[in-house]
């Protein structure tokens, strides 16, 4: 271990450490605190957890916000909708993204760089505008309708917007690069000769894929899936722009609970339950992250 920068060590470690504790950890702890506080009319619209009055010290907490959420099928349904949206789109991203990542990684070096740049360009184009593009494409007078009518599949335009299929399409489209890039990162490192070796030893292509290629790209698959699944559970923008009233999602519920109903404790309890549901995938992500970033030590 290198011993230089001894004096600077302190600042190198503690500036970001302090920042993250202050602006990431404490706010999360605060959500937890508010989620077990009693709702109250006023500003802020909840009662303090601890209060010191003439009757002495009082601790005022409640689980009623959580009970409220889990006794109302409306909230439970929105959780399930979000989880199923995240699950479906992760699988679709994987199925669509894997062959693309594979062939890009296996291209000749000079073509590969160009393809990689082509993959990154949509990723760097504004997220909001890519969702908006689908809104333009899918609407009644949009280009997809025109093509289908022209080809004779439709006689008159149908509205393809404002349903959960449009939401899935939008999610797959905008999150695809998050799947492709980690997959590419693992596939590009992997030695093509292994495929030839398996073939020479008489393995069928399917077996080569299942027994050689797939296990070696598994870390990429897990990383990509987590990068799609976790944020999609909280996704707000895509359902808001492309979705309709047929399905409500978790992100939208939190948004409305906070901005429309102004019920901070319930919004916080919703956010906390979201974190609890996501703990399992987040822990997997953390373990992978620690394993692949610090394996040298």
């Amino acid at each position: 271990m290198i011993r230089y920068l001894k004096k600077q060590n302190f600042w190198f470690v503690f500036t970001p450490y302090f920042w993250l504790v202050l602006f990431f950890f404490i706010p999360l702890a605060l959500i937890f605190k508010i989620s077990i506080s009693v709702s109250e009319w006023g500003m802020p619209p909840y009662r303090d957890l601890f209060s010191l009055s003439e009757e002495g010290f009082k601790f005022d907490s409640t689980l009623s916000n959580y009970l409220f959420i889990f006794s109302d099928p409306f909230y439970i349904r929105s959780y399930l909708n979000s989880l199923s949206l995240a699950f479906t789109s992760t699988i679709l991203c994987l199925v669509i993204g894997y062959p693309i990542a594979f062939y890009v990684a296996k291209s000749q070096a000079n073509i590969r760089i160009i393809l990689l740049v082509l993959l990154i360009i949509p990723f760097w184009t504004s997220f909001l505008l890519r969702v908006y593009a689908w809104k333009v494409l899918l609407q009644g007078s949009g280009i997809i309708n025109s093509i289908l009518i022209h080809l004779g599949f439709l006689t008159e335009p149908i509205s393809m917007l404002h349903n959960h299929y449009a939401v899935i399409l939008g999610v797959v489209y905008t999150y695809l690069p998050f799947m492709i890039l980690p997959l590419y990162g693992y596939l590009v490192k992997f030695d093509l000769n292994l495929i030839d070796a398996a073939n020479d030893l008489g393995a069928k292509p399917l077996n080569t894929f299942l027994k050689v290629i797939l296990p070696l790209s598994l870390p990429g698959i897990i990383a990509g899936s987590m990068l799609v699944f976790i944020p999609v559970v909280g996704e707000f923008v895509i359902p808001e722009m492309l979705g309709g009233s047929d399905k409500l999602y978790f992100g939208k519920i939190i948004w409305d609970e906070f901005f429309v109903n102004r019920d901070w404790p319930v919004a916080s309890a919703l956010a906390m339950s979201g974190i609890v549901i996501l703990v399992f995938p987040i822990v997997i992500f953390q373990l992978m992250y620690a394993k692949y970033n610090f394996k040298n030590e």
Partner: protein, 272 residues
């Protein structure tokens, strides 16, 4: 003979997959750009080629002001996030004694996967409480958006720096130390140049993350701090806007130019 057919099949399948894949990625964006030149208020009915929406875009005070605000916040956020990201990457790969090290790793990687809506809500509640207790921040606005953007960008920069630092040979630093180089010089003359490309890509990533963020900014913004995504979202939430098409085309042009220049910079570096 059979091998040749197999090989042809493989190449066909490869080109087929890549064509479909890339068409899916580019079709929506290119359509949007094409329609930005349409001289018709009704978006999808083609009337003729014109720059009308570009003219209107550049006369729209609200969009221009939001653009300026966004660029300002993104530059500051990217710069601070890069400085702290380098510190984290450096600490985690080069310094062994960090108090509660697993907690530090947790803190520096969790923002990568925390849903934006939870991050935004928690920061907003935090700013409101801290305003009650110590009267800071005095109001929500550009400063609170900036703090929030730095907080989630740091993690992304740290990942990039970390993977660069853990993949390159520490012995070079140790050799320099054995040769009697002063610690500061080692950092500036050896470590910094090695991680410079990662610093640049980290900065660019943090910049785009900030420029792109809608959800966290919506929670933490206040009067006079409408960022570009907030304004665009309010325009397209319920309907379509030809000006936003023009804006998309301009952003696309900037991204493509940036990508091409990064490609050529990398290529000339490899040749060297």
């Amino acid at each position: 003979m059979q091998n040749t057919i197999l090989k042809m099949n493989k190449i066909f399948f490869k080109i087929f997959t890549l064509t479909i894949g890339f068409s899916f990625l580019y079709f929506p964006i290119l359509t949007l750009i094409a329609y930005s030149f349409n001289d018709n208020k009704r978006l999808m009915v083609w009337k003729g080629f014109s720059f009308r929406w570009y003219k209107e875009l550049f006369q729209n005070e609200q969009i221009l002001e939001a653009f300026y605000t966004s660029i300002k916040i993104a530059s500051f956020s990217a710069t601070f996030a890069t400085i702290m990201g380098v510190m984290i990457g450096f600490s985690l790969t080069r310094i062994s004694k960090i108090p509660a090290r697993p907690f530090f790793i947790f803190l520096s990687s969790s923002p990568l996967v925390m849903p934006e809506i939870i991050l935004g809500l928690s920061l907003l509640l935090f700013f409101i409480s801290s305003n009650h207790i110590i009267s800071f921040p005095s109001s929500k606005g550009q400063l609170t958006v900036l703090i929030s953007h730095i907080t989630f960008s740091v993690a992304f920069v740290a990942v990039i720096i970390q993977s660069r630092l853990s993949s390159y040979d520490k012995n070079i630093e140790e050799a320099a130390q054995d040769l009697g180089t002063i610690p500061n010089m080692i950092f500036w003359k050896i470590t910094a140049p090695v991680i410079l490309p990662s610093i640049i890509s980290g900065w660019l990533l943090a910049f785009t993350l900030s420029l792109d963020d809608l959800v966290v900014a919506s929670f933490t913004t206040g009067p006079g701090a409408n960022t570009l995504p907030i304004v665009v979202f309010s325009k397209v939430r319920l309907g379509l806007s030809p000006e936003v098409n023009a804006l998309s085309a301009i952003i696309m042009l900037i991204v493509v130019l940036a990508a091409i220049s990064i490609y050529f910079i990398n290529r000339s570096n490899i040749k060297k």
